[in-house]
């Protein structure tokens, strides 16, 4: 197939952007989840 390298590059790059974005959202969610747990336990200790 002519220009197969360009087609592959476009699809790989495009899906990489979606994948990296999805992972970044998941990582930020995990970090915030940990922060919420820490803050809640600090608040309950302070009661």
């Amino acid at each position: 197939m002519k220009n197969l390298d360009s087609i592959l590059a476009a699809y790989l790059a495009g899906w990489a952007i979606f994948f990296v974005y999805y992972i970044s959202v998941a990582q930020r969610m995990n970090a915030l989840h940990k922060q919420i747990e820490q803050l809640k336990s600090s608040l309950s200790r302070g009661k």
Partner: protein, 225 residues
């Protein structure tokens, strides 16, 4: 969590099926040849970015009039997701252009306005990161977001209003435009799958923003004590 995984599996199946349609069912375009297959990633990403930025615009307007935090969360979520879709457009466009036009990039109206759109929403997210106070951040970014959205119709109509290196529209393009029926069906199904992807990403990003607001609330509670 199980619901999200289930939705993600259905979406992955849809995307795999539409990739099959794009590569095997849709015919090879006569002038450009197989490189035109990039169309099935480039165009749905562009339309999905318009939908995301439209949601952002609507949420910004709702925030300005209601001052309810949920609209601010939706606005920033849609802006970020829209930015991911525009990034795909800006990356796949030059890869498609190089073998067809002989150049990676040209500063014509469509390409330049799309690049400006990307910069505007980067600026929108930067503005948010610079403002500490939640109400001020939400209001200022809502006003900036309403202004930034003005570029979306300019991007859409640029190939209709001005002569551009970018091709004329094949979807809703008027007389003389259009797609082969098999290309049209493939495109519409790919777009449906991309709309599913948009909803999945937007849903995840909105939850993230709600969690961030909870963290800010808990921190304020800590400071008060």
């Amino acid at each position: 969590m199980i619901k999200t995984v289930f939705v993600a599996v259905i979406l992955f199946t849809m995307i795999a099926f539409t990739a099959y349609l794009a590569f095997h069912y849709a015919p090879i375009e006569k002038t450009m040849g197989p490189i035109q297959k990039i169309f099935y990633l480039h165009l749905p990403s562009a339309f999905s970015s318009f939908i995301a930025l439209g949601i952002c615009f609507y949420a910004n307007l709702r925030y300005v009039f209601s001052r309810e935090a949920k609209w601010d969360w939706l606005a920033v979520s849609a802006a970020e997701v829209g930015l991911a879709f525009i990034s795909v457009v800006l990356v796949t466009g030059p890869i498609w252009a190089h073998p067809v036009w002989g150049i990676w990039w040209t500063w014509d109206a469509r390409l330049t306005l799309t690049f400006v759109l990307w910069l505007l929403y980067i600026a929108y997210l930067l503005l948010r990161s610079m403002l500490e106070e939640p109400d001020k951040r939400a209001l200022f970014s809502a006003l900036f977001g309403i202004f930034a959205f003005l570029d979306v119709p300019l991007v859409y109509f640029s190939i209709r209003w001005w002569r551009t290196q970018h091709p004329q529209p094949v979807i809703l393009g008027g007389p003389g435009s259009g797609l082969d029926p098999r290309m049209r069906i493939s495109y519409l199904l790919v777009w449906a799958a991309f709309t599913g992807l948009l909803i999945l990403l937007l849903n995840g990003r909105y939850k993230l923003e709600a969690m961030r607001a909870s963290v800010e609330e808990l921190r304020r509670e800590m400071e008060v004590r």
